[in-house]
Amino acid sequence: MNNQSDSLPVKCQHLWKIFGLREEEALSACLAEGVDKDYCLSNFDCIIGVRDVSFTINQGEIFCIMGLSGSGKSTLLRLINRLIKPSRGTVFINGEDIGTLRKKELHLLRNDKIGMVFQNPALWPHRNIRKNISFGLEVRKIDKKVQNQAVDRAIDLVKLSGYENYYPKQLSGGMQQRVGLARALASDPDILLMDEPFSALDPLIRRKLQDQFLDISSIMNKTTLFITHDLDEAIRLGDRIAIMKDGVLVQVGTPEEIVTNPADDYVADFVAGISRLHLVYAHKVMYPVEQYQSLYPDENLVNIPQVGNDDDLYKLTDIMVESDVNKLAVVRDGRTIGIITRRSLLRGIQGFTIEDVDTP
């Protein structure tokens, strides 16, 4: 095993999870003959939850797993902290194969290194907020003073100071979910697992909590695995996104990659409705300067407004409108590397990249 993978917070190799009494038979069939889920269901009465999934997550990254219901994303999340045992495959946390851990070590891993947030906040109704948040520390019998400090810190992060002695049922859904987040952060874990944490909340609160989470995340730099079925949310929050369908990882990439280069029709359909304004950057809608000059050698390119390689479509639109021009020059390291025309910009907003636009 090379050193680089040792330092990766999460690494999954060829994970399979099949549900059913005849799990092994179904697995063998899948491995040997590559049968599909309908075959497994009819012949073995088994459901394929996760099918040969491999990926890694980098330190401090927010990794979003996206998919519709039944895509296997919640199962995959639970394989990471072994709440569900894989049928086959390995999960490495900080380089360690968690399948080899003894019970005590596994409990410690969940307690200390991994924090989990659930869709239904799953707070314990008989415990007040303070005792909900401190549960992980209490389980490990940490000194009371230290517990209280950790709770105070966590509650402060989610901006719920003053509610320590309340009970979950006295709080709104959004507040309960913030407690859930505080609970996951209390033991200062390396990795956060979040299972559709904001899906059950109304859209306004959801946006607020997403913002709050982004703030917290930038402060704490925690490696996060975030499950959602909302593509907007995944794009807003994720450094990288993985799209799952029927237990298979269909595509992994940055929001921009997914949106501009969908791997197949399924992904393309998914991202069809997404606004490109903040996702696509200048380099995707520019003509390489040499190509443009060869087509229009007489044009004066000196006085057109300059934009950066990483400016998004929104900014480009702004500049083009405010400057009242038809062309923009993309500049990097002081050199013009590309030209954006009105046509290529507008087509870019529509969802076409430069390759799709024939003439400038």
Binding site: N81, L83, K103, L106, H107, L108, L109, R110, N111, D112, I114, G115, M116, F118, N120, A122, L123, W124, P125, H126, F135, G136, E138, V139, R140, R183, L193
Partner: protein, 280 residues
Amino acid sequence: MKTKNFDLIVDQYLDRSVEWVDETFSVHLSIVSGLVNSIVEALNKLLLMPPFYITMILFGVLAWKTSGPFMAFFTFIGLLFCYVMNLWDATIGTLSLVLVSTSLALLIAIPLGILSALVDSISKVTRPLMDFLQTMPPYVHLIPALILLGYNRSAAVFTVSIAAFPPALRLTDLGIRQVPVEQVEAGRAFGATPGQILLKIQLFSAFSTIMTGINQCLMIALSMSVIAGMIGGGGLGKEVYKALSSLQIDKSIDTGLAIVLLAIILDRISQGSPNIFKKN
């Protein structure tokens, strides 16, 4: 011809089995019998020690703390009735029998109920066993109890406990099973061991269902205690039996009323017992 002999054979077999148990375990049985009997007698003496009005007031206070002033008043008046009708000793007698039997039943039922909820193989045994115990008429195990344990309080305790413990076990099992799955999963996700999950999450969530089980156990114990009066249970059961056998309608109504009052008092106190832990 053959079927006629078959039932005789089975009967003989059953008789022999009971005899065999009686002979083989006679020492153990008499120890158990003596022990249980003395516990009941001791509790009985304890409750009879203070003057009746002290006991009444104590129960009144207990009723107040668990169910409020009206119940306190009702308890006091109810117990006063028992005293005035010359049924005080009998009431205390039944009360000690009920308390010992319920404690014994709960001591077995609650742990077994918890295990049954958590371990599939155990629940496969307890479910049919509870079905059996709950549907079988209690009179059926009255007789073997008498034979094995003798005509004293222990036979009554045995019979009452057996009748009373199924609801406690079933409701404990149910309570634990009905803990919302997310709460248990959250416990696991934060690294709690199964034992910690039980003590910190499941028992709290199942608390009210388990309390219902305890309450039901108590109520059945009370009604069985009356029946057990026929086999040495003493108390109000014995009084009812006496009154019925001598056809004294008035006395049988009095005793019946005392039983009902005791039932209401015990029911309210046990249902309200969680309130003792809540501060006003």
